[in-house]
Structure formats: C-alpha cells, structure tokens
C-alpha cells in the first residue's frame, strides 16, 4: 500500500507541478468548452433575435386589401412593395441574392373567385422565397401563417354561423395541461446531451496524460529505472491507474463545470439551467464517473504499456475513443435509461445508462450497483493485464 501511494503521489505531482500540464489538462478543457459553448450560444441568440427584429421585404401583386390591412393591423414587420413597378425575374434574382425576402403573387381575379367560390375553381396564390436564406425562410413562415389566418377569415365569412368554424376548443380553461416541472425539462435536456460529452471528456482527459505516463516512460527509458526497484509490478500498475484516474477526473470535472456554466447560454435560457440535484445524486454521479474513469484509464494504460512510443499509443487509442463517442451518442436517441440489468455489465455503455438514470432522476440502485461492481471487476482485470505487461520483457524493452 505504501508503495502504491508513493507511485500515486509521484504521478500526481508530475502533472500538478507542471504549470503547462495543469493548464492544458485541467483548466483548458473547461475554459475552452465554456468559451466555445458561450460563443455558440451567443451566435445562435444573435441570429434568432436578428431574424425576429428583421423587417420583411416583400413584393406582391394583386394582394387583396383585406389581407394587407390584416398585416398592418397586426403590426407585422413588413415592407410591402408592388411588383407592377418591377420585373418578375429581377425580383426573383433579388430573392436569390438575399436582397428581397419574399414575393407573393395573387391572381388578378382573386377576390372575385373568392366571392364566387361556388362556381369558380380555387384561386392559386404563388409564393417565392429562398429556403437557403434565414430571413427569407422566416418571411415565408410568417406569411404562410398570416395567409392561413386570412383563409380562416374567408371561410368564416362563408358560414351562417362563423363561430362554428372551430368544431372544438382545446385547453381554453385548463392552466395545468403542461405537466412536469422546469427541473424535469432541464434534466431531460441534459440527459440527451451530457452522457456523450462526459464520456468524451473523461476519455480525452485520460488520453492527454495516460500515454505519456506509461508509453512515455518506456520511450524515455525511465520505466526501467522503476522496474529495478524491489516493488511489485502490480503496485506500479495500481499506483499509476489510480493517479491517472484522479487526474482524468479533475480534467473531466473542469469540462463538466464548463458545460454547466455555458449550458444556459447554449440552450438560450436567461440564466443557468434550473436543476436541483440531491446530495445522493451528486454522490452517485461521482461514483459512476470515478468507476467509468477507472475503466477508461485501465484501457488506456494497457494500450500505452503495449505501445513502444507515445505516438503509437495515441494512434492505438484513437479507435477506442471513437467507439466511446459512438456509445455516448446512443443517449442522444432515446434519452431513457435501459432497464435491462445486462446492459449495466457492458463497459462504458453501462456508464452512459447510469448517468442518464441520475440526470433524469429515476435512479435504480440495483442497476447502478451492477454498473459499479462490474466496473471494479473490469478494472481489476485491466490492472492484472497491466501487471503482466510490466513483467513482459518483450513488451517493456522492445525496440
């Protein structure tokens, strides 16, 4: 135990006493995520408010006065210009170029056809917009909505009892039809996004220090100095895995804090996301993350011990990293934790499901325990394998 602690402290000190490593492993992930997500959130917010504030530039032909009055009465932000003065193809090109948002052409006999609907065909309104352009798409959606309202008005006018246009009402006097809480909504949003990000950050944290700690020591020849000391190889393995796990957890925590602080901006809420986790949930989340990071570090350590150089280790770890991202992405489609206990035996996938359970607040202790115990078993196996690799002279000293 004393030797494990000595190895642990040295590995830990190696990272925390190096300002550059502290910055790149512990501060940068959180800072980068916060800045990236905040910028992204601001950009999305700016784009949305810009569209909302934008005055639609619309060309029209034969637009009925009633529809025009409706737009004015409802203070729709639109500048209406007559097509009569311009050439159709010129305006079409202006829409493509983003100078005009929409063109609506009513038939010249629109109003007479509406009045004489019993004998006439339905008049066809032609709309032109650029679906690749945000202002134009938004203008189309706005005008489509108002044309729909205008359509209802016309139908009402044709009925003897206009109030009968709606055969039924929905939730006019039901203020409680939206069940659930903001907390649950936020939890659901987080459960869709966070498991993948957490797995990614845990992995990238371990990747940034793991290969250097083992493959780097092989490459630099410092592992041999350690191997001629009278300590068990298993003590070296456990000391390194525990230290790397704690450091990776710090790195992941930094990323996690970055996400939490920037999530509000990313989700376009006013403040931070309103989630009230209980103490038990925090403890469970920590246990699940630590068990997960142990498995990840165990895998990375074995690959690093097998590889001859840091470069080779990083290359060999990559497919595993992509696989972990793919596993994490599974949470984005469904968002519900699995109830099948067997799932909680599958490394990483079990972590994703356990994290979802905690985030959505539907914890099943039995399955979480299965996840934790199976992770400890996997880590033990991985440490045993690492121990064997440290004893293998072909692996340790191959050139």
């Amino acid at each position: 135990m004393k030797n494990i602690l000595t190895i642990f402290k040295k590995e830990f000190y190696r990272v925390i006493s190096d300002r550059r490593l502290v910055f790149t492993v512990m501060l940068l992930p959180g800072l980068a995520i916060f800045m990236m997500y905040s910028l992204l959130g601001n950009a999305i917010g700016n784009q949305i408010s810009s569209i909302q504030e934008h005055r639609i530039i619309m060309y029209q032909e034969y637009m009925p006065t009633a529809f025009k009055d409706m737009l004015i009465a409802n203070e729709v932000k639109v500048d209406i210009m007559d097509l009569n003065d311009s050439d159709f193809d010129v305006v079409k090109q202006q829409i493509i170029d983003g100078e005009v948002d929409i063109m609506i052409i009513f038939p010249n006999d629109f109003e007479s056809k509406i009045l004489d609907y019993a004998t006439q065909d339905n008049p066809e309104i032609l709309t032109y917009y650029n679906f690749t352009e945000d202002y134009s798409s938004s203008a189309y959606n706005t005008m489509y909505g108002w044309l729909d309202v205008y359509s209802d008005e016309i139908v009402k006018a044709r009925l003897d009892a206009p109030e009968d246009i709606n055969p039924f009402d929905m939730d006019l006097d039901n203020p409680y039809h939206r069940l659930g809480t903001e907390d649950e909504a936020s939890r659901k949003g987080m459960a869709d996004l966070l498991p993948m990000l957490i797995i990614m950050f845990l992995f990238s944290g371990a990747m940034s220090i793991g290969p250097d700690s083992i493959a780097g020591e092989k490459e630099r020849g410092t592992i041999a100095t350690l191997l001629v000391t009278p300590i068990k190889r298993s003590e070296i393995a456990i000391g390194k895995v525990l230290s790397l796990s704690l450091l990776s957890l710090f790195s992941a925590t930094s990323s996690f804090i970055g996400i939490i602080l920037s999530l509000g901006k990313l989700m376009q809420s006013e403040g931070n996301v309103s989630i009230a986790f209980t103490t038990n949930e925090y403890i469970l989340l920590f246990l699940v993350l630590f068990a997960t990071v142990l498995v990840i570090v165990g895998l990375i350590s074995n690959i690093s011990a097998y590889a001859k150089t840091v470069k080779e280790a990083s290359m060999l770890i990559m497919p595993l990293y992509f696989a972990s991202i793919a596993i994490g992405m599974m949470s984005m489609f469904g968002g519900e934790p699995s109830t099948n206990p067997v799932v909680y035996l599958i490394p990483l996938y079990s972590s994703v499901n356990a994290i979802i359970q905690i985030l959505v607040g539907s914890v099943s202790m039995a399955t979480i325990l299965v996840m934790l115990i199976s992770s400890v078993v996997y880590v033990s196996i991985l440490i045993y394998m690492l121990n064997r690799l440290f004893q293998n002279e072909k692996v340790m000293f191959k050139k």
């Binding site: 630099r220 410092t222 100095t225």
Partner: protein
C-alpha cells in the same frame, strides 16, 4: 556477504525484420549470451569486457532482473533472479545508460522517491542523501530539474540514486560514460571505496585503463561467450608483454577468424 554467481545462462532474442536488416542476417533468432558463467566476490571489482553487441548488457540486465535468461540461473547472495526477483532488486544497485531519470523532477525529489520505493525510513533517506550528494557534488544542483542538468550531472545523479539503499551488490554499466576526467575519477574512487567496504562490484566498460586500474577479476565476452574469466594478473599474463589491450584484441581477432571475417 555472499558471492554473486552467474551460472550457465543462455539468452536468445527473436529478431524483427528491421533488426535482421541491420545485422545483415536471415536468422530470426539471435543468441545474445551462451552458457555464460562467472562469479564476483565480495571485496572485489569484477570487470566485464567485450566489444559492442558481445552480450555484456544482456548479462547485466539478466542480473538486474529486467530480463529472464532462457536457461541457467543467477544467484545474488541467497536470492535467485528466477525465484526471488524482488529479493535480488533489493540487494543490487544497478546503473546502465538505458536507465534514465525523469527530466521533470529534481535530483532531490527523485532520490527521496526511489529511497521510499526501496523501503528506506525517512530519517535514513536524509542521511544517505547527505552522504551521496556531498560525495558527488549533487548538493549544488539538487533542486534543479534533471532536464536542465548536463550529462555529467545526470550521470552523477543516476549513480547516487542507484546507491540510494546502500546495496551490497553494485552493478555499473559504463559508469564513466560521458563524464569529464574529474567526475570520472570521483566515480572510480567511489567504486574502490565500495570494494573496500566489502561489497560485490561488477563494472562493464570499454575503457581498458579503467579495468586495469580498478578490477581484481576480468571476464571477456565475445559473441555471447565467456572467452576469459580470471584474475586481472592472470588475464594480462596471456599476452607476452602483459598488456590487457593486446589480450583483448587477440581474442576479438580470433573470434572474427572463427566467424570467417578474416
């Protein structure tokens, strides 16, 4: 204190295609050491000589338990490298150019770290540190990171760290490599001190003058085989003029003739 005995060890390595190209051979196996035996005694310095690739480092690495011989046995006192490798590691102080120190740490930190791994109590660590750091002049740069030290300073630090636990068996591979004359002298003087303290010392070196000056016994390995293994005087007497260099070159030449290179 008991002898260090290398008993009939053989070690074979498989060659990668790259190594086959470098060694210009088509054989996939290379016998690095073949049925090699020698004994090093307490209070004596044993010199291991041989050209590059002769098998010296393989022999020393086998003694240090970094690799296992295919056959044969090595006894370091009452501990066997095969049956009790940790017991052997606790008894030996091993230094080779292959063993590097982590550049991020200072000599002071690394000395304490390795002392703890050797199970030395804290008070004793400071005591040993004071003696060895003073002996090799490390106290002047004990807080400087290894990465910022000169080759000589690094070598001195490596030597001090290999002796952190005051081992009874000291195995040094090219201990004066890269050192200036003054530092090399302090190292050879210290090896003599260790010998006088009754320790078993094994030194591998290319510098024949060092061997002549330091060693009580000499083993010359060529192509993995022990060609000569005796006291320094008896080895020197193999040449009419009593010149160790002549003995060495004659043996190298004989081996080359056997390989058909001359």
């Amino acid at each position: 204190m008991e002898n260090l005995e290398v008993i009939n060890i053989t070690k074979t390595f498989s060659l990668s295609k790259k190594q086959q190209r470098i060694e210009k051979t088509k054989t996939k196996l290379k016998v690095a050491v073949k049925e090699l035996s020698f004994t090093a005694y307490p209070g004596e310095i044993y010199g291991l000589l041989g050209p590059n690739g002769a098998g010296k480092t393989t022999t020393l690495r086998s003694i240090a338990t970094l690799i296992k011989p295919d056959t044969g046995e090595i006894k370091v006192g009452d501990a066997s490298t095969l049956k009790d490798p940790n017991g052997v590691r606790a008894k030996i102080g091993f230094l080779t150019s292959e063993l590097k120190l982590e550049e991020h740490f200072s000599p002071n930190y690394l000395f304490t770290y390795f002392a703890r791994l050797h199970g030395i109590v804290e008070e004793k660590i400071e005591e040993r540190k004071e003696i060895l750091f003073k002996k090799f002049g490390i106290d002047k740069f004990s807080e400087v990171k290894v990465g910022e030290l000169s080759t000589g300073m690094k070598q001195k630090t490596s030597i001090a760290i290999s002796l952190v636990h005051d081992p009874d068996y000291v195995i040094f591979d090219e201990p004066t490599n890269g050192l200036d004359v003054l530092t090399a002298r302090s190292v050879t003087d210290y090896l003599e001190e260790l010998k006088n303290a009754g320790k078993v010392v094994i030194v591998s070196t290319h510098i024949l003058s060092v061997v002549e000056k330091l060693c009580d016994r000499v083993g010359i390995i060529i192509d993995g085989e022990m060609k000569v293994n005796d006291t320094i005087n008896k080895v020197k007497s193999l040449d009419e003029t009593g010149n160790l260099e002549n003995v060495f070159f004659n043996l190298v030449e004989e081996a080359a003739q056997l390989r058909g290179e001359f």
